[in-house]
Symmetry: C2
Subunit: 118 residues, 2 copies
Amino acid sequence: MKIESAADTLSALAHGGRLAIFRLLVKAGPAGLAAGDIARKLDTQPNTMSAQLLVLSNAGLIRARRDGRSIIYTADFPRMTSLLKFLTEDCCNGRPEICAPLSAAAAQNCTPKKGNCR
Amino acid sequence: MKIESAADTLSALAHGGRLAIFRLLVKAGPAGLAAGDIARKLDTQPNTMSAQLLVLSNAGLIRARRDGRSIIYTADFPRMTSLLKFLTEDCCNGRPEICAPLSAAAAQNCTPKKGNCR
DNA sequence: ACAACTATTCACGTATTATTGAAATATCCA
DNA sequence: TGGATATTTCAATAATACGTGAATAGTTGT
């Protein structure tokens, strides 16, 4: 990932409301959530929500698909992975202090050993 | 880390120039770099640089100390670690697909096994 | 004290972003 | 077709962010 692309992606997440949306969609997984559901859960007006979803969508962090009258949004996992890789590689290239503890935490959270990853 | 704090920190990094500054400081390590050196390396005017450094500083991502007439900036590693932890824990709580590959990459980059981390 | 150097602060114009009411589009069902 | 539902688009406003010239503050050496 290029630095300007990373900055754009970070911009999309640099907003409390949008970060909350993204978090919700990550938890929802591939099934995703309808725009209206997200708006209700986060207590946001439909048009405001639509604008926020557009920003995340333009950044490539989420994807949209129509299902009947609803539009279902899902988190784009590879995009998030590549952002995190950019940030961690950035760090590790210079100093390991930043991502060494992260690596440990990630390993603990993400390895399928203990079954804490669905 | 709280979500609003994470959004603020992401805001500071959501800017090509500031992301470049932070990257430079990470690579510089604890020795840090003087404001003027950063400005020259990134071809930015001193007052613009000062404003960008202030944003990063307010976000807690960098620290300043005076050394003679220069002001030396250093990356705040723990702050970056906690941001990355927020992002990855966020992801892992729901789905491991995002940070599983990250975890592997981080482990490869950061473990002192191969000596590729100074 | 003075001049040179380093960096910040201030004030200002411009540009971008965020939110909202109102209107428009798309879908479903009767 | 017509009405209800779900979401987006448009237009306008308010708020925030960005970069810059000019002025200011701290430090060093003479």
